[in-house]
Symmetry: C2
């Protein structure tokens, strides 16, 4: 999946074709695309791209014996929770082992933080080693982490920040609305960052690790959101991820990839077996604006097995089962093309205990496995992809009560968890 | 200093002579000594001892140029703060470096936690490897950490607990009043620990890392305090530290060591230069129950340079300067021998900022450097000391407002800090 998304993100023509129907109608997407056009016009000055991906899976099947992992979605941008997931897995291991319980069947403790940091550190070093001689300076370099303001999730960012410093790589978190004031572009498009506005000390930004800039409100509520993203994308800094990788996380891309032919185009060298194993994790997806789509959305017996997803989301804002009928019946015809129907993943019944806040839930649950990958690649002039890093980087595991549809720990709908293997 | 205290703790005869005048009068000490006599009568079954020591120093002198480090005291038992000290030093390094300040003059970041854990792990392995064949079992071994109840300082214990588990060594914290219920002695005096009283699963305790059992209230307020300590001391487990090492932390021992002759007896093989360097850190100490002592305690001009310390304390409950006069004048004659006068360490004036709670202090401060040492030694039948580990293990650094006499972070009188070297 990592390689698939690296290649998708490198194929501007294909992405544009997929996104075209939405470009004219969606404000957020057209804002982003407009930024990209300006960057293209000025010329892209950094061909190395860094991506930290998470591919989410759920079990699908009547019973555990015949259940298989199915892809929920692929996140290519701003994935949160990898630090929390490590900590909770360590806690579960610890709580079991101090009671003398067998921990051998628990999933290994994931080294998510180390792996993400190792990827950013590699990108940082690549930036330095690939800087042309005429642009070399004595200025220190740093990783810049744009973050959302009033973010409750800093504990998921700080461990990465600190671990970079521990490797001798300066890392600065900067609130999204403050980026413009703290940065400037040199004529040769090096991005310079000042931590203190009272000081003249500057860093040259090697890697921009985006933990902000992926939600519409960051462009609408903050008047300088667009200018901020434009400056960052214009720069020589390695983006983690870049603009096209960000867009490849959208639902409409997942739907377009849901096709064996597309996979062959993007992964011509992979063996057919691996491709069909990958395909086997896909659930059927149908554009709402199609004959089959409209028929599902109008029959309760069909709709109850589907989820309706907005094409521009990476996740969230979904409409489930029979709610689809009422929702679609009120949807203006021209907005049909903004949605995709996906066959619901229906996991076998599983019992567990969840502790959220001060409440304990004891009942049926649904879990989601996130497989992390760290990638670095270079886009050649000819449009080819040179993979410089593609590593499995750990996992996240989230569990929610079965009756709750949306999986969001931050919103209080689920818990970080740790899977335990069972015998067949 | 580590070696000195290992040898002092091994010399029961000398310790008994030093402590004898107090034995009959002090409840706590006589309780402890009574435990030791019972252990002696039954025979000591573990000859390996583990000690984690902290030797505290302050600067003494009119100015920084002529100031020298002077010993405040030596702690051999239950030293708290080594984890906090590491964290605060890391925080100071981080806060300086993100502002681009020079951190090269800051003291190195101490690896206190790693070093303490490495010492306990070595003791754990020594316990296993030195267990006689006829006592070997298949039972798992663990480190037992007796802790005080309602302890606010668990964050200084947990990092050691977790790091031992990370090395595959089970570690259990157990409240002091619960120890009896959770442990039993086998006929061959292996100490067995059950974490859950509902379970029959037992661990054989390799090392007892005392973070409780060193204060009188633990023997007076809890009816089973004495029985608890007796069971622990009776066991084959390696004690960190054992009973005699615990007693060597008392002020009266520090006073008795304040004598070049004593040092020669304990460290006959050390070179005289090292001995006199050690001696140079000692401040003059005088028993209160002596001609010189009584004269200091009755003249304000003399008393103002002294601190009066209870002989049975490792630190705390001191009387400072001219308060000594009123205190001693009301002291019953038979209690004079319970106190020692020590020349006050008078540090050169230093300015700093302290953040305690939500308040900022800006003014003159006094700092105390704690030098950590980790030790393991074996007492041979002939009473000799075989040193198995003697390592510098990091440092702690505490700073308080100059007007406050007692240095206690837990009581809110001081802050953890990080020293910065200055040019001569």
């Amino acid at each position: 999946m990592n390689e698939l998304y690296m290649r998708v993100a490198a194929d501007e023509t294909w992405l544009l074709k997929v996104l075209a129907p939405l470009l004219e109608h969606d404000n957020f997407l057209s804002t982003l695309w407009d930024i990209y056009k300006q960057v293209k016009a000025a010329g892209v000055v950094q061909d190395i791209i860094c991506g930290i991906f998470r591919c989410d899976y759920m079990l699908h099947g009547q019973s555990h014996a015949d259940a298989a992992l199915k892809q929920v979605e692929v996140n290519t941008t701003c994935l949160a929770g990898c630090c929390h997931a490590s900590h909770v897995a360590r806690m579960h291991h610890h709580l079991l082992q101090i009671r003398g319980a067998d921990t051998s069947k628990l999933a290994y403790k994931p080294a998510n933080i180390d792996n993400v940091v190792s990827c950013l550190a590699q990108a940082h070093k690549l930036y330095i080693s690939s800087t042309p001689a005429e642009l070399e300076t004595t200025t220190s370099t740093c990783v810049l982490m744009p973050v959302q303001i009033r973010n409750v999730n800093t504990t998921d960012e700080r461990p990465i920040d600190y671990a970079l410093w521990d490797q001798g790589i300066p890392c600065y978190r900067c609130d999204w609305p403050d980026i413009l004031a703290h940065t400037r572009l040199t004529p040769s498009r090096q991005l310079m960052y000042r931590h203190s506005l009272d000081s003249t000390m500057e860093f040259e930004v090697s890697v921009i690790y985006f933990r902000a800039g992926f939600e519409p409100f960051e462009y609408i509520r903050f008047p300088h959101g667009k200018e901020t993203r434009l400056r960052l994308e214009m720069s020589r800094s390695i983006k983690a991820p870049d603009f096209l990788t960000h867009l490849s996380t959208l639902k409409i891309v997942q739907q377009a990839l849901n096709d064996i032919g597309t996979l062959e185009v993007f992964l011509p060298d992979s063996n057919p077996e691996a491709r069909s194993e990958g395909m086997a994790t896909f659930m059927p997806m149908t554009p709402l604006d199609s004959e089959q789509g409209r028929s599902i959305a109008s029959e309760a017996e069909l709709a109850k097995h589907y989820v309706l997803k907005p094409n521009l989301e990476g996740g969230g804002n979904n409409i489930y089962r029979n709610d689809i009928l009422a929702f679609v019946s009120e949807l203006p015809v021209e907005r049909l093309k903004h949605y995709t129907l996906m066959r619901l993943i229906e996991p076998p019944p599983t019992q567990s205990l969840l502790l959220a806040g001060e409440e304990m839930y004891d009942g049926e649950v649904i879990s989601e496995l996130g497989v992390l990958g760290t990638c670095i690649w270079r886009k050649t002039r000819e449009g080819a992809v040179e993979v410089m890093r593609n590593e499995a980087a750990g996992w996240t595991f989230k569990t929610k009560p079965a009756a709750v549809d949306e999986m969001s720990v931050v919103k209080g709908y689920g818990c970080f968890d740790c899977p335990k293997f069972v015998d067949d």
